[in-house]
Amino acid sequence: MNAALLILIAAPLAACLLSLVVRTRPAMERLQLGHAVVLWAAMAAVVAGVVMGGHGGSHGEGGVSFGPLLHTDPLSAFMDLMLAFVGGTALVYASGYMGEELSRGHLNFPRYRRFFIYFDLFLFAMMLAVNLDNIALMWIAVEASTISAALSVGFDRTKAALEAGWKYIVLNFVGIALALFGTVLVYYTSEHVLGVSMEALSWVSLHRVAGELNPVVLKMAFVFVMIGYGTKAGVAPMHTWLPDAHAEAPTPISAMLSGLMLNLGLYAVLRLKSIVDPAVGPAFAGSIMLSLGLLSMAIAAAFMLIQRDYKRLLAYSSIEHMGIAFIGLGVGGPLGLFGGFFHMINHALAKSAAFYAAGMVLLRHGHKMIDRVTGLARQTPAIGGGLLLAAIALAGLPPFGLFVSEVLIATAAYRHHHGIAYLFLALLALAFATLIAPLTRMALGKPVEAQLAVAHGSDRLMTSALGINLAAMSVIGLLMPAFFLDLFMPMTALFEAKAGLP
């Protein structure tokens, strides 16, 4: 189990280094597909290890460790599950997508190779961030992921991509600097309790002594971390980089940003919440998260109304869904927490699937205008059907998991405050309409002739990635495997599930 944790983190780094010496497209595809398989296997072993051994419930007990710095508790295992699964399908998808770009001559081989180097680095940094048992080293890994994604966002050398990349850099680097200030503040109070040492930065130790830390300092730290990592999570009002970056980045990166990087930001906020709550009560962090969540939903739903670019539409939908997860986790209590976590993973699967389909449309039509694409389901059933299924899931319709999580979060919000629940439901309805209408129009109706053909080999890879994601999404939505409960229950214990917002 413990070796599996090391493999899980080392695999992306190894793949990144091996990419440096790859000389042909088939070799790169074999490497990245092998990378995906290794990720899945190692992730399964780590998650199984945590679920079997991790019934202790509290932060310190159970879990899988490697060396003094790596420790995987249930919350980390949950992130591993998401990162490795979606990261793996994104690798399969990227092999097809970037291969197609290569064979069309949009890229030369060195740039094709560079894409995978950045991509693997990005995945490595995120994987490292969620498994480090150290608040400051986690910051370093999160910063590394921000930097490696900066290289990918501006990868296409168009004016628009550069502008999006610059916006991403400015906002996220400022955000990450503020998060470091929050981290320093945590150390400022924890060193009085735990001494000047690495232990004063360990999540396990911080959680153990959280009650003794200075509440005023922790409140300040949470505000800085919320602004900082919240920027990365794409919540309003720090979301302005997100639509541009998602629209202009190569599509496999858009899927990674929406599915994984936003959740990494939320993970970092949650970690801090888990040590702030015992010291100042859940209401402080909870109400900040709740208000930013509602603001994100409102802004996203409004801007989705006027979108004409389908990748931007999906990007705004990510802001909305992150808002929903923030609301669930902010309200807290067993229902809110469970709903929030379940929302995170279902959104990761559904949104990356939607981007996979969108990228395949982009490759065929060569533009991102919603109006000029119709009838996908008749023309290319796999893409049209996939897009439609993802749209149904993202709109929160049954039978998919996002429906379940939204109902849970609405219930939790209703118990907290009736008005907030009504507002939540109204915003949900608005977002539902503004998302489902354009996407169904794209999937159904009279087909528009595609401008470009996609090579069969590339297409097969992309379709498999889409299929795997949709299958996983359906399985967890319809069947809810038992190990989810085993994983979620100890996770909610981190936040003293009984004490939600009053």
Binding site: A136, A150, L151, K159, A177, T189, H192
Partner: protein, 223 residues
């Protein structure tokens, strides 16, 4: 012999150094020429290294010396060198362009300092006696760096703003918490260096593509 000097002297010295840091921050905000801005940043980083060395001396924590040396190597020498190259490469002869002009900028920065002091007032007493006021000054520098990123148009000045924020953070970590563990400091340095490199690369590309590093010309993407 760390305690051979009177501890009051230590705290006076650290306060002096922090004030010098704050002073250079204001000087950068008031600067019209781009290359002078970079020079001042190098000077600020030097003061930062001196502050760190003073803290290291009075608290007898040798790992802070390493951080101080790294600060000189990276922030006083390497990064300003990169920035100078960028300025040369993109051929920015013109002066810095402002979204907010210098006099109001200085007023706003003054207000930010007051804000920083009032925000940290309730928690300052928790800190070590030696470095009580440094946390407020650190926060002030972070906020002013942030402001600089908003209020200046050229990409290079935005980089300087970002680096100033980092300097403020480093002051906060060193002075108020006597430094983070060394491995953390090393990681942060590495990240900052890479971040500065990446921003430099982006600035080159902006120049190549837009023929300008005026970021207010980036207006293609909006609703």
């Amino acid at each position: 012999m760390p305690l051979s000097l009177h501890p009051d002297l230590g705290s006076q010295l650290i306060n002096l150094c922090s004030m010098l840091l704050l002073l250079t921050t204001f000087a950068i905000v008031a600067q019209r020429r781009l290359s002078a801005c970079v020079d001042l940043f190098a000077l600020q980083s030097l003061f930062l290294a001196v502050t760190a060395a003073v803290v290291a001396w009075f608290t007898d924590s040798p790992h802070i010396y390493i951080a101080a040396l790294l600060t000189i190597a990276i922030k006083t020498v390497t990064i300003p060198m990169i920035l100078k190259k960028v300025i040369e490469r993109v051929n920015v002869k013109r002066e810095i362009e402002f979204v907010i002009n210098i006099p109001p900028s200085l007023l706003i920065c003054g207000a930010l300092v007051i804000l920083a002091f009032s925000v940290t007032e309730p928690i300052a007493k928790l800190g070590f006696l030696l470095t009580r006021d440094s946390l407020a000054i650190a926060l002030a520098i972070v906020l002013i760096g942030f402001f600089m990123m908003i209020a200046r148009k050229k990409a290079v000045t935005q980089i300087v703003g970002f680096l100033m924020m980092e300097n403020g953070l480093f002051l906060g970590a060193t002075a108020s918490a006597y430094g983070m563990p060394l491995i953390v400091e090393l990681g942060v340095f590495f990240d900052v260096l890479v971040a500065a490199l990446i921003i430099g690369v982006y600035t080159h590309r902006l120049q190549d593509t837009f023929d300008s590093v005026d970021t207010t010309k980036l207006t293609g993407l909006k609703e």
